[in-house]
C-alpha cells in the first residue's frame, strides 16, 4: 500500500498536479466542489479523477472480495458535520493527512508542526473513545443505500470525461494544474483498491501506536500493518521525490505552506480529533463509502460541503498565513468536537463496540 500511494502521488505531482499535492483529499474536494459550482473560486474548479478513483477503486475491490456491505445508521448527521470540520482543519493547514506526509517526504519541514498537531488530536480523540464515546452501532441497510456514493462518483466520472456545460473547469490556478485524466484515474483506482484491502488510514495508523504501543510494530505482520503502511508510504514518497527532483529540504520557499505554525497545529489537531471520532481520516472516509458504509458516505458529503464552505467563507490558509475566519473556524471546530465528545460519552464504559472492530 505504501508503495502504491507514495510512488503514485509523487508521480501525479510530477505529471502535472500542483507541487507536493500529488494526492490531497481536502484540496481535491475543494476542486470538485468548485467544478460542481458550489463555490465561485475560478482557480479551484476541476473534477479530480483521483477522488472518483478512490471511491470506485474501493467499490470494485470490495465487490471482488465480497466485502461490500451496505450499512449505516451510526449518527450520520453528526458524521456529516464532523466531515465538514475535517476539511476546515485541513484547509487551515493546507492539506489533508496524506498531503502532510507528502509535504514531509518532499522536505517541507513546516509540515512537522501539522504532524504534531495531528498526533495531539488523535491522542485527545482516543482519550474519549477509550472512555465510552460512542456514535451508535451501524446496522445493515438495503444494498441500494450502499450504492449511492459509488453511483454519485460514477456520475462524476462520466461528467469528467464528457465535460457537460454545468461542470466548471479552471483555466488557471491550482485547478488548471493536473496530471492527464486517465493517469489520475488509474492511480486513484489503485490507491482506492489497495486502501480498501489494507484498511489504510493515516490517523488509524498513528492511533494504533497509542493503543498498542510497541506491540504494533513487534507483532507485524500479525498486526494490521497500518503503521508499517504509513512508514512505507513516507519512505517511498521520499525516494520518489528525490528521484524526480521534487525534494527540497527546508522551511523556506515550500509550496502550500505558511508561517502560521500555531494555527497549522490546531488545524491538524482538529483533523486528528475529528478523524478518531468518526473512525478515519478523509481518505479513509472516501474508501469506506465505496465499500457500502453509508455513515462514511455522510462524512464524505459533509466533506464536500465543508470544501465549498472553506472557499466561500475565506477560511483556507494561504502563503500569507491563516485568515481570521480560518482561526475562528478552527477554534469553533475544536469546541464543537469537545462538546460532541462530552455529550456522547457513556461514563464508566470503555471502547464502544463500533470502535472495537479492527482494533484486534
Amino acid at each position: 500500500m505504501g508503495a502504491v500511494i507514495g510512488i503514485g502521488a509523487v508521480w501525479l505531482s510530477f505529471a502535472g498536479n500542483p507541487a507536493n499535492t500529488g494526492i490531497c483529499a481536502s484540496c481535491f474536494l475543494e476542486n470538485v466542489a468548485g467544478a460542481l459550482r458550489l463555490h465561485d473560486n475560478i482557480r479551484m474548479q476541476y473534477l479530480r479523477p483521483e477522488i472518483i478513483g478512490f471511491v470506485l477503486g474501493a467499490f470494485a475491490l470490495s465487490l471482488a472480495r465480497r466485502e461490500f456491505v451496505s450499512s449505516g445508521g451510526s449518527s450520520p448527521l453528526l458524521r456529516f458535520f464532523i466531515g465538514a470540520l475535517l476539511i476546515v482543519g485541513c484547509s487551515v493547514f493546507i492539506g489533508c493527512p496524506v498531503k502532510m506526509v507528502l509535504r514531509l517526504a518532499a522536505g517541507d519541514l513546516n509540515a512537522v508542526v501539522g504532524f504534531l498537531g495531528l498526533v495531539a488530536g488523535i491522542y485527545i480523540g482516543l482519550a474519549f473513545v477509550e472512555n465510552g464515546f460512542r456514535l451508535g452501532e451501524a446496522r445493515p441497510l438495503p444494498a441500494a443505500a450502499g450504492l449511492l456514493l459509488p453511483g454519485f462518483m460514477f456520475f462524476l466520472l462520466i461528467a469528467a470525461i464528457i465535460k457537460p456545460e454545468f461542470i466548471a473547469v479552471s483555466s488557471k490556478g491550482a485547478g488548471a494544474e493536473h496530471a492527464p485524466i486517465y493517469l489520475s484515474l488509474a492511480i486513484g483506482l489503485a490507491v482506492g483498491g489497495f486502501a480498501q484491502a489494507t484498511q489504510f488510514c493515516i490517523t488509524g495508523g498513528i492511533a494504533r501506536v497509542f493503543l498498542w504501543g510497541p506491540r504494533e510494530v513487534m507483532n507485524c505482520p500479525r498486526s494490521t500493518g497500518l503503521l508499517i503502511s504509513l512508514a512505507s508510504f513516507f519512505v517511498f514518497a521520499l525516494v520518489a521525490s528525490m528521484l524526480t527532483g521534487q525534494f527540497h529540504l527546508g522551511i523556506e520557499a515550500q509550496p502550500s505552506s505558511n508561517a502560521s505554525y500555531g494555527w497549522s497545529f490546531l488545524g491538524m489537531t482538529l483533523v486528528g480529533f475529528g478523524s478518531i471520532l468518526i473512525r478515519g481520516c478523509p481518505l479513509r472516509q472516501l474508501v469506506a463509502s465505496g465499500q457500502g458504509d453509508n455513515d462514511a458516505g455522510a462524512a464524505v458529503m459533509g466533506m464536500l460541503v465543508g470544501a465549498a464552505t472553506v472557499q466561500n467563507w475565506g477560511i483556507a490558509g494561504d502563503s500569507s498565513g491563516t485568515p481570521v475566519a480560518g482561526q475562528v473556524a478552527v477554534l469553533f471546530g475544536l469546541i464543537f468536537l469537545f462538546v460532541v465528545a462530552l455529550v456522547n460519552r457513556r461514563r464508566g464504559y470503555g471502547i464502544a463496540p463500533e470502535f472495537q472492530a479492527g482494533l484486534d
Partner: protein
C-alpha cells in the same frame, strides 16, 4: 444498555462501572469531563480574543476576486509606460506610474510596472514590494497557464533581495521575501 465483555491483557482497556452515566451530568463529572470543559472555556476565550483583535474587513478584498474591470484607457497608458521604460527613461515612467497608482490602485499591472521601474533603477527591495502587491491583486502573474506570467523575473528579483538580506538583515524585508518565495513556490490554493 449492553455490557461489553472485558478482555484481560488487551490494550483496549474495557472498564465497566456499576452505575454508568450517559450524557453530561454536571454533578458527576470525571477527570476527562473536567479537563474537557476547561479546554472548551479556554478555546472560547481564545476565540473572543481572536475576533476582538481581528483587523476590520476590507470589503473590496472580497469584491476584487469577483469583478473584472475593463478599462481601455488604462491599457493604453500602461503600454505607454512600458514603451517609456523600454526607451530608458525611468524617471518619466515613474511619474506616470505614480499617477496611475493613485487612480487604479486595484490593478496589479500598475504595481508590476512599478516593480519593473524599481528593478531598472537598481532597487530590488522596492521592486519586490511592488511585485508583492501586484501578485496579491492578480495571482495570474505567477500562473504559468496565463499570458501575464512573470514568475522567472520575480524569482530573479527575490534572489537579489536574498543576497542583500545576507548582508543587511531587515526583519520586515525578510518576512516579505519569505512570503514571496512561498508564493512563487505555488500550492493547491
Amino acid at each position: 444498555m449492553e455490557d461489553i465483555p472485558s478482555r484481560e491483557g488487551d490494550a483496549c482497556r474495557i472498564a465497566v462501572a456499576k452505575d454508568p452515566v450517559v450524557g453530561l451530568d454536571l454533578k458527576r463529572l470525571d477527570r476527562l469531563d473536567r479537563l474537557s470543559l476547561l479546554v472548551v472555556i479556554l478555546l472560547a476565550m481564545t476565540m473572543v480574543v481572536v475576533v476582538h483583535l481581528a483587523p476590520p474587513v476590507k470589503k473590496n478584498a472580497v469584491v476584487r476576486r469577483r469583478v473584472v474591470v475593463l478599462n481601455p484607457g488604462l491599457d493604453r497608458k500602461l503600454s505607454l509606460v512600458e514603451r517609456i521604460l523600454a526607451s530608458d527613461n525611468p524617471r518619466a515612467a515613474h511619474k506616470l506610474l505614480l499617477g496611475l497608482k493613485k487612480n487604479f490602485s486595484y490593478d496589479g499591472r500598475v504595481f508590476m510596472l512599478l516593480g519593473d521601474y524599481h528593478l531598472r533603477v537598481q532597487n530590488p527591495v522596492a521592486a519586490m514590494h511592488n511585485y508583492r502587491q501586484a501578485v496579491d491583486l492578480n495571482p495570474d502573474f505567477l500562473d504559468k497557464n496565463t499570458e501575464l506570467f512573470q514568475g522567472r523575473k520575480i524569482k530573479g528579483v527575490l534572489a537579489e533581495v536574498a543576497n542583500i538580506i545576507a548582508v543587511r538583515a531587515d526583519p520586515a524585508v525578510r518576512k516579505e521575501l519569505l512570503y514571496m518565495r512561498r508564493k512563487v513556490a505555488g500550492g493547491c490554493g
